[in-house]
């Protein structure tokens, strides 16, 4: 019995540093992950969610589709969106100011520091993305080209000129929605011809 206890103690003593090392490795990995640079694709995903633009996109959109919807809403880094490019402070401050619809307050739009300065004046830090993104609210005038109308994908396509939420904010959705009163859902895009009473 004694032998067994000794073996157990030795085993525990040997295992402890290994477990500690493993735990430390995990913590380091987690902290390394947190410190990992953020890519444009990751930033775009966070922005699309924060701005309430998800509804304009098909499920599980690609990075390009995320960039597209942000561009349609006038949100883009100085040198454009690139899937694997790392987000710089200049990129982040620019897209945040655009997302907040404060670009007219930027003193010198050609100077990246002006965008950063404006955010500081607004009390928004660009040091931590998770904190910065919380300052972004749903766009009151969010817009997006209607994917469902032009799509040939049966997973995406909508009814022809059928009710739709998204048509570049011109409210073509309202136009086509009201067309339903003319039997659009039945597919006949016209005022209905008379039928005998």
């Amino acid at each position: 019995m004694k032998k067994l206890l000794v073996f157990l103690m030795i085993g525990c003593m040997l295992a402890a540093p290994a477990a500690w090392a493993q735990g430390r490795q995990k913590a380091e990995k987690k902290s390394a992950e947190a410190a990992q640079p953020v890519t444009h694709a990751q930033l775009a995903e966070l922005l699309v969610k924060a701005l309430g633009l998800v509804r304009f996109l098909p499920p599980s959109p690609t990075a390009q589709q995320l960039f597209d919807i942000l561009m349609q809403n006038a949100i883009s880094p100085q040198d454009g969106w690139k899937a694997d490019a790392v987000v710089t402070k200049a990129d982040l401050s620019r897209v945040l100011v655009q997302a907040l619809r404060k670009e007219d307050m930027v003193e010198n739009p050609n100077d990246p520091q002006s965008w950063i300065n404006l955010l500081r004046e607004l009390g928004i830090s660009v040091d931590r993305l998770s904190e910065s993104i919380q300052a972004v609210e749903v766009l009151p005038e969010g817009m997006g080209q209607d994917w469902t109308m032009a799509s040939t994908d049966p997973l995406v396509e909508g009814l022809a000129f059928a009710p739709s939420t998204v048509q570049y904010s011109v409210d073509l959705n309202l136009v086509v929605r009201i067309l339903t009163e003319m039997e659009t859902i039945r597919g006949e895009l016209r005022p209905i011809s008379p039928t005998p009473h």
């Binding site: 924060a50 309430g52 509804r55 499920p59 599980s60 690609t62 390009q64 960039f67 597209d68 561009m71 349609q72 006038a74 883009s76 454009g80 690139k82 899937a83 694997d84 619809r101 007219d104 739009p109 919380q134 300052a135 609210e137 749903v138 009151p140 005038e141 817009m143 080209q145 109308m149 032009a150 040939t152 994908d153 049966p154 997973l155 909508g158 022809a160 009710p163 939420t165 048509q167 570049y168 011109v170 073509l172 309202l174 136009v175 086509v176 929605r177 339903t180 009163e181 003319m182 859902i185 597919g187 895009l189 016209r190 005022p191 209905i192 011809s193 008379p194 039928t195 005998p196 009473h197």
Partner: protein, 410 residues
């Protein structure tokens, strides 16, 4: 309609429950907008005019009242978006019944199980309460109350940093509340011929080739069923799709997407042969200046028929939109869409029906002025035109103008 009410109440309860969990958030996750529009419609409907050749248009002043409730909930691994928008449209001069009520509900849910496994769910519900309309001795429109719902689920798995595979399913339902109506010739027609559901399954492989290029390969299966239709109007079909796509960032201001493939459609109806047709779609977004955005798209494919007498149609669709900010407060939008629908005699139930085309043109423009942080003033104009060379179909033009006020209540 009962099912719709249940869904709406469920959606609102979900929004309320979610909102209570978010009181601590720095920014409010719930927003409510109200939009009131006063407008003129020069063609609410048109009827044969016995006193003259041609058609008589019914014009009317109208008021549109619309409330929009938005919920946008962001958690560490989960996202929930909800939008409910009821609209009431009142016509000053429309016989029998002066109002229509529309309900739009959009639901989006995303959950990240891990960095490489993401589940997305979305639901789009549209319900229309469209009462019967009469003009003198004619029924212009029978009760067209209906529900359209589309639910999509996608499971995305990232195999490698540049490779992703999506497994998706979709269920679409269109259901009319009223089952029978009398058509132009006096015959009893059943809405049951038009009720349908569709089930779609698909697999997509995405490959990011470089920072600016991505490729896709996809396969789809679609079953389309009209469960209540008579045998003589059986439009049931099964389709298989195989396609490839590319997404490209051409410059910081220009990105585009192209997708193409082949569809093979098999019909249940014994009088027609299978149909194999290529399909394609393209879209571009271009920012010529920081204040201007242009988006264009075009597509060509086989499509569900808009006319009950045909099993399917070949459809070309093109759209172009432009948004321009004159100032931070004054914004201009214009969008146009064109559709060319081609119907073949070979794919009709009745061989006396001939082949023909229909052109539809739609344009809409809006000028919006932001009065202050929460108020907008808007002016809009829409034009719709249908030009049909098919028997029994009437061409028409319709103009609508409106002025509106939008307020973000909170």
């Amino acid at each position: 309609m009962k099912r719709f009410h249940i869904l709406t109440v469920a959606g609102l309860l979900l929004a309320l429950a979610a909102s209570s969990a978010l009181v601590q958030a720095d920014t409010s996750p719930i927003h409510v907008n109200n939009r009131l529009r006063l407008g003129w419609d020069d063609n609410v409907y048109q009827v044969d005019d016995p006193s003259a050749s041609g058609l008589k248009r019914k014009e009317s002043f109208r008021i549109i009242e619309e409330i929009e409730v938005l919920a946008n909930l962001n958690f560490e691994r989960t996202y929930l978006g909800l939008r409910y928008r009821p609209s009431l449209i009142w016509y000053e001069d429309r016989d029998n019944k002066s109002t229509d009520v529309l309900h739009d509900l959009d639901f989006n849910f995303i959950h990240n199980f891990s960095p490489s496994l993401v589940l997305s769910l979305s639901d789009t519900l549209r319900a229309s309460q469209l009462p019967e309309l009469q003009d003198e001795n004619f029924v212009v429109r029978q009760d067209d109350d209906n529900i359209y719902n589309s639910a999509v689920a996608t499971l995305a798995y990232t195999l490698r940093p540049a490779t992703r595979i999506d497994l998706s399913g979709r269920y679409i339902l269109l259901k009319y509340t009223e089952s029978d109506y009398v058509d132009k010739s006096g015959a009893l027609v059943s809405h049951d011929d038009d009720n349908y559901y569709s089930v779609v399954g698909g697999l997509t492989l995405h490959q990011q080739l470089a920072s600016q290029t991505a490729l896709m390969v996809d396969g789809r299966y679609q079953a389309l069923r009209y469960p209540d239709a008579r045998d003589t109007y059986n439009r049931d079909a099964d389709s298989l799709f195989a396609g490839v796509g590319i997404e490209q960032t051409f410059s910081p201001q220009l990105i585009g997407r192209l997708r193409a493939g082949v569809e093979h459609r098999t019909y249940d109806y014994s009088g027609v042969s299978d149909n194999t047709c290529p399909y394609g779609e393209a879209s571009v977004t271009y920012l010529p200046t920081p204040a201007t955005r242009i988006t264009g798209s075009a597509s060509y494919s086989l499509y569900e028929s808009d006319i009950s007498g045909y099993l399917s149609q070949e459809r070309f669709y093109g759209a172009l939109s432009l948004a321009h900010d004159f100032t931070a407060k004054l914004n201009f939008y214009i969008s146009g869409a064109y559709a060319l629908n081609n119907y073949e005699q070979d794919y009709s139930f009745d061989q006396s029906r001939r082949s023909g085309d229909e052109d539809t043109f739609l344009i809409s423009t809006r000028l919006s002025y932001r009065l202050n942080r929460i108020n907008w003033f808007e002016v809009g104009y829409q034009f719709v035109m249908l030009d049909s060379d098919l028997a029994g179909r009437e061409s028409y033009k319709r103009n609508r103008v409106d002025v509106g006020w939008k307020i973000q209540l909170f």
